[in-house]
Structure formats: C-alpha cells, structure tokens
Symmetry: C2
Amino acid sequence: MNNLIVISGPSGSGKSTLIRRLLQKHREIVFSVSHTTRPRREREIDGKDYYFVTGEQFRQMIDNNEFVEWAQVYGNYYGTGYREIETKGNSGYNQFLALDIDVQGAGNIRKKYPEALFIFVVPPSLEELQNRLLKREKKEDENTRKRLEIARQELKEYEIYDYIVVNKDLDQAFFILNSIYTAYRNTTARREYFIKRLLTGGKE
Amino acid sequence: MNNLIVISGPSGSGKSTLIRRLLQKHREIVFSVSHTTRPRREREIDGKDYYFVTGEQFRQMIDNNEFVEWAQVYGNYYGTGYREIETKGNSGYNQFLALDIDVQGAGNIRKKYPEALFIFVVPPSLEELQNRLLKREKKEDENTRKRLEIARQELKEYEIYDYIVVNKDLDQAFFILNSIYTAYRNTTARREYFIKRLLTGGKE
C-alpha cells in the first residue's frame, strides 16, 4: 500500500502538533483511529480519537488476529486494526492514511506494509527534550525521567524509518514534513500508472 | 554516496529549466560537468558547461575506465567522469552534486551509486511534448519526429527512477522537485550521524 504515512516520535518531540498541521493542510489525509482499553477522557470522541473498547473486546480482537500491531502501555491496551488500514487506506488513489504510532508498532507496520512512508520526529537534543517535558509537567518527577529513558530507547530504533525530521523549529520541521509528503506523492510506484497511460497516448 | 542527484527527462520535458532553478535556489548544489567531443559553442565555457576534449582524449579516458557512463549521441561522445563525481560529490556533508544525464547514463549511475537520488521529469502528455518541440523547432520536421520517438523510448525506462515529476505547470513541477530534494536531505541514511550524536548527548 503506497498511501500510508506512519509517524512516530518520542513524547516531547512535537510529533502530535506536526501531524495536526499536516492533516489541516491536506484534506486528502485521514487519520487512523486506534483501539484502546483506556477510559475515554471528557473531550474525546469514540471513533474519532479512539475506538474505546473493553479489555474483553480487545482480547477478542487479538485472538481474531484483527490487529496489525498492538501494545500495552501503562496497563492499557492500544492497537491498530487491519480493518482501519484496509478500509481507510484503500478509499482512493489520492486518499492517504496517517498513523500516529510508537516505535514498536511502526516496526510491525513496516513488516506488513513495507511500501508505507515512515517518518521519525526527533528533538534537536536530549537536553531540549528534557526541557520540553519539564515545561509540560511543571517539575522534574519520576514521569519525566521515565519518558526520557523511553525516548532514548526509541531513538535507537531509528533505522525503521525512511526519514528523520529534527524538530528544532516547528515551522522548519513542518516544511520538511510537508516536503517528505509531497515527495511521497510523486514516487515512481505512485506514478507508474500515469507513465503507462502517457505511453499509450493519455494525459494527466 | 548519498548526495548525488540524478535528473533525467526527454527533450522538451523542461528538465533543464528545472535544474537551473534548483541550482539557483540551493547554492550547496553544484553541477556535474560532463566530458564531450562535440565542438564548443560560442557562449560555452570549458570546465563549466563541459570539459571539451578531442576524440583521442575521450577514447583514452574510456580505455582507462575513467567514465561512470558514456554514450555516443549524433556522432559526438559524452561522458561522466568518476573524478567529477568523487571530487565534487565528496566535498562535504552539505554539498550536493546534480547530474543532468540521459536515461541510459542514469541506469549506469544507478548501478555504481544506488543510494543517489533519481528523478525523472516527464511531460503531461506526448501531445504536449510534441507541441513544445514544435514551438522550439518552428516546424514539424524529421528532428521533431525523431525526438518524440526517443522520448517514447526513454519514458519506458521510468523504473530506474525514485521519483517522477510531471511537468504540466513549471512552478508546480519546481515545487515538487524542491520537495523531493528537501526530503532527500532528511533521509535516515543522511541523518544517522545526527541520531548517533544525539544518543551520546550531542545537539544538532
């Protein structure tokens, strides 16, 4: 499938902000909704932010092999359903599906969909990442240290990805992300059909 | 080598204009100068437009395996020297080398430098290509027909390339070319060094 965009990045990398901007700019990109067992927060909408399911339902989906990837994080389950990808990913040539997914999940998606686009958003330094996490969490606590250690572990898996976006400045990082997306739209795999049509006398 | 940019396109695709704009915008991209046996035209500068050599010198270079690729076109020889690529391509991490090269040459470069970036500029239709060639040559003649047939042959080799830029509108085509270049600057292969430094406490 050559219209999947997988974006990962440690907590504090700015990944979520970048994805939001990408979706705002390109209406042809839809967002992949994950399943989770964690409780719905007040502003979240079922089917838009997550598909909220019970532990029982989640386990049933695992047993039925309905997940491309799933993981347990802080006691809650998160997973990406095949159906989500196959339905939204196949809804048209000019329709793209963006997945906000952790490093482990990305590795699994890569195995199933090697032609997807894999982008890793990273901070300019671990020091800067720490500053951002501290600002967010107000004080250094166990949580920040844990997130920093997880970030360090995640960064080691960079080889899963096709592109690395260093988010030092948000506008610059978005320019790079948007360029990567534009390039992806014009890969030979995606343009093959056009070339073949051109050779038989067709037009764009 | 992950800082080579190979750009091909049939005569009339607008490739040369696009390359010129790319070089104007990015001073870190230098242009690869080919060797040729064809006579120097008045406005051309030796060592800038081409290295102008005699047939004897060219054959000597072939015998010495000094060319990554070479070809005979309308009785003249054209070739890309290893020294040109190795010298200009290795002049720095943030230095790029652009090659304006035909399909056959691109295929040879791909074998020697698989990690280079390969971009194919194509017209929106063969009809439009014909119009452009006619406008350039003023009247339909043998030359136009020959160029159209060559274009058709070249287009069949699209699989050599990573990206296809359909040049329907010049500004739009340049936007895509510039995006592809920006993406290439941020591939994991090019960012590996940064990630490793980041993991040991460095900064961008």
